[in-house]
């Protein structure tokens, strides 16, 4: 058992944060401390959202208030910057005192691409926490080699933590 445990020791946690699903950074940070694993936060500024905000009649229907509010690109960008900043503060407050290595990347691409890029850095095994997923929910285990973009999208949409055993090839 001891050797088996050694084999699956998580060295890195890749946590996705989306503007619409900020999730609970504290819970993820707590998990990183417990696992003594490096944390890589991916704050993905959804390209679709930015495109939408740039449209001339872009408007948002608030949930659950049902209030209709006009959206503009600069306001959405400001909101995303503020979200990223508060996320950075939360992770720093939780992990700096515990001397856990962490970083937060703000990317403007699709979630699958951002995760794929992170996996390509070669850390293994890693724990991937999709945006909005409960970090302590039951993990799925996949081999990195088996992950294509479609599989990755499906995993991210399923919103369940995934243990990735080996880095897959860069695409």
């Amino acid at each position: 058992m001891a050797s088996r445990a050694q084999e699956v020791r998580i060295r890195r946690i890749i946590a996705c944060f989306a503007p619409a699903r900020a999730g609970a950074p504290e819970a993820i940070a707590e998990l990183a401390k417990e696992m003594q694993a490096e944390l890589l936060g991916l704050f993905i500024e959804d390209a679709e959202l930015l495109r939408f905000a740039a449209l001339p009649f872009a408007a948002e229907v608030g949930f659950p208030s049902a209030t209709r509010r006009p959206l503009d690109l600069s306001a959405v960008e400001r909101a995303l910057r503020a979200q990223a900043s508060s996320l950075r503060q939360a992770l720093a407050a939780a992990l700096d005192p515990a001397a856990i290595s962490w970083s937060l990347r703000v990317t403007r691409s699709s979630p699958a691409s951002a995760v794929e890029a992170a996996l390509a850095e070669g850390f293994a095994p890693s724990l991937l926490i999709p945006a909005g997923a409960n970090p302590r929910a039951e993990y799925r285990v996949v081999r990195a080699a088996d992950l294509g973009e479609a599989e990755l999208r499906a995993l991210l949409a399923a919103a369940r933590p995934v243990v990735i055993l080996r880095p897959g090839p860069a695409r």
């Binding site: 503007p19 959804d46 495109r51 001339p56 408007a59 229907v61 949930f63 959206l71």
Partner: protein, 810 residues
Amino acid sequence: MEMIPPAPAHAGLAPGELRRRCDPEQLGFATTAELEPLDGAPGQSRAAQALEFGVGMRREGYNLFAMGPEGYGRHSLVRQRLEAQASRMAAPADWCYVFNFKAPHRPRALRLPAGGAPAFKAAMARLVEDLSAAIAAAFETDEYRNRHREIEGELSERQERAINDIGERAKTQGVALVRTPSGFGFAPMNKAQDGVMDPEEFGRLPPEDQKRYEEQVGELQKELGDLFHQMPKWRREALDKMRNLDREVTRAAVNSLIDDLIARYAALPEVQDYLAQVKEDTVEHAAAFRQAKEGEPPTLFGIPLARPEGAEAPFRRYSVNVLIEHSGTRGAPVIYDDHPNHAALVGRIEHISQMGALVTDFTLIMSGALHRANGGYLMLDAVKVLTQPYAWEALKRALRSREIDIRTLGQELGIISTVSLEPQPIPLDVKVVLVGERWLYYLLHAWDPEFAELFKVAVDFEEDMPRGAQDDELYARLIAGCVRQEKLRALDRAAVARVIEQQARDAGDAHKLSVRMQALVDLLREADYWAVTAGREVVGEQDVRRALEAQIARCDRVRERLQEHIVRGSQLIDTAGSRVAQVNGLAVLQLGDFAFGTPHRITARVRLGGGRVLDIERESELGGPIHSKGVLILSGYLSGRYVLNKPLSLSASLVFEQSYGGVEGDSASSAELYALLSALADAPVRQSLAVTGSVNQHGDIQAIGGVNEKIEGFFDLCKARGLAGSQGVLIPEANVKNLMLREDVVEAVAQGKFAVYAVRTVDEGIELLTGVPAKEIHARVETRLAEFAERARAFAVTAGKKPWRREHKK
């Protein structure tokens, strides 16, 4: 000063008549240790019978008023009788206050059998503990979690499905549903139909397409908004389902626990009803049992705050405030409240400070004396109840309504309008015994119409008991009882005899014994102290004597100072020689607990006038009404005895010389008459004698009070100046039975150095004082008054008018 003829042969009282001794040889014991203590209160048979009746009579209004002076054992006798009766009665019910779930500001009173309240309180505390565990456990089960998740899932599924439906419908129109940070939006899809159209691409569209997209998006937004408006209703439905689920789960956990308790209190429907309400309330407030531990302090911005004492805790509503309990007690309660103010009688509602505000609840209701005495007896000092604001009214209201209604004074007076508690009144079944002085009883009877209704039984305490042949022995047993109770050294029989004599002196009667228990116990304690000081194991007669001397020595500074004034000539009192119209009267001064006699010079002046005897004390407003009455009687005596066929043409004045305070009482009226007669008859009065006694219009000498102190007062002065053998005091014969004179006075009389004369009439007195036969005195007075009348008549004829009448009218 004239020469006085020798006194006529009028024998003074024999030494044996001056003090009734208690012969130690007649007491059949060596020390009080051999005596059986007396059970009961001697001389108080009337009070004891009244007590017996009042205590046993359990009817409305038969409360008692034990009246008599302080120190006569009222409290101890009453308490003794009450405790005897109470011990034969059953212990009363326990009472507690609990939360009223229907009206929280009206706490509910619960009656439990004696000793049952603490057990009920413990059972409720245990129940809350059990409920916490059981409810928490019930919500931890997989069944609950699954059902809860199911409801939550159903709600989110319903919401997602509805949103997705709109999204799908939008997609068919070439519009994408986009998730935004705070909601959702709609945007035209790109050509590939897999994402949002670029703004540039949108800009290249024909205006009519752009407009069409805009309209479609607008409609979809409206549709989505309408959907969102429905969602609170769905959430409410889900919450109702969850609430019902919670109730169902709680009820399952609670039922068995509370039903067990309800079964234990099958004989108490009120308690069962309360527990049924507890059951319903716990179901409604199950969340409190599932929340974090009660002990966690509240926080403000993460900083822990000190929880104010008594702050509302979730389970406080299920606690039990045991107001009164009788576990381990036998018999009914007998309560004496030394400080019977309003709150101490009917109970109070306390408040605690919570975040700067005063708050209260049913656990802060405190019992009063009426609660503690309920089912038994309550003893109160009448004067204390009457002097505490609203205490008397509260006591009467409780007795009248036969229930204890706890209301604060603020509520009672209507001066506090904030919301407070109105605890449910508790039925009252108590017998109240008020202890007070007689004047208070009669005042209440006269001025408070409710008093007679509520206090029907008067317990009147005697101040003395008869001193018959067997009573000295009986009293010795009373002394033995006090000695034992106070854990004092035993008294030998000589000491007992001395104490008995002192008690007769205290009663002011040779044939009575004082039952002033406080004075008796004080004397015994002090005699014991002196015995200890002298190293004696048994208290002897000398210890009692020393205790008495010390008592007097501690109090007689004023007496000594007054006598010093007389001896040094500052106050003029003659104790030798003779003088016309000047008599030594005697007065008693009471200073605190100590009374002593002191002589006063009484003088008279006479002249022609309108038949009026002028009381200078009264004119100067120093004489009291009884003294004035005594002086007016003198006029009656003169006008009824002398010159009956002529007007009484006398103007006389009487005065207490060197008196700077008030004079009250008529005990000097005989002395005043002797001074008048001496003035009218021009007969000198022996200054070696002093006089006390009142007189009536027929010239009979009547009894007065304080005879012993008066005789001793004059004796002390004569002794200070040197007893010559001619000195003495005239007292009314009716007072001979009161004589319990000091032993040194009796000894002086036995040696012929002092005398006490008992007189029945003015004639006897005037003969003793002047040495002139009464007949001759009367003849001289008659002649003098006839002269006055004749001169007055002649004067009236000469002047043609009656000036003295005008003078009189003034």
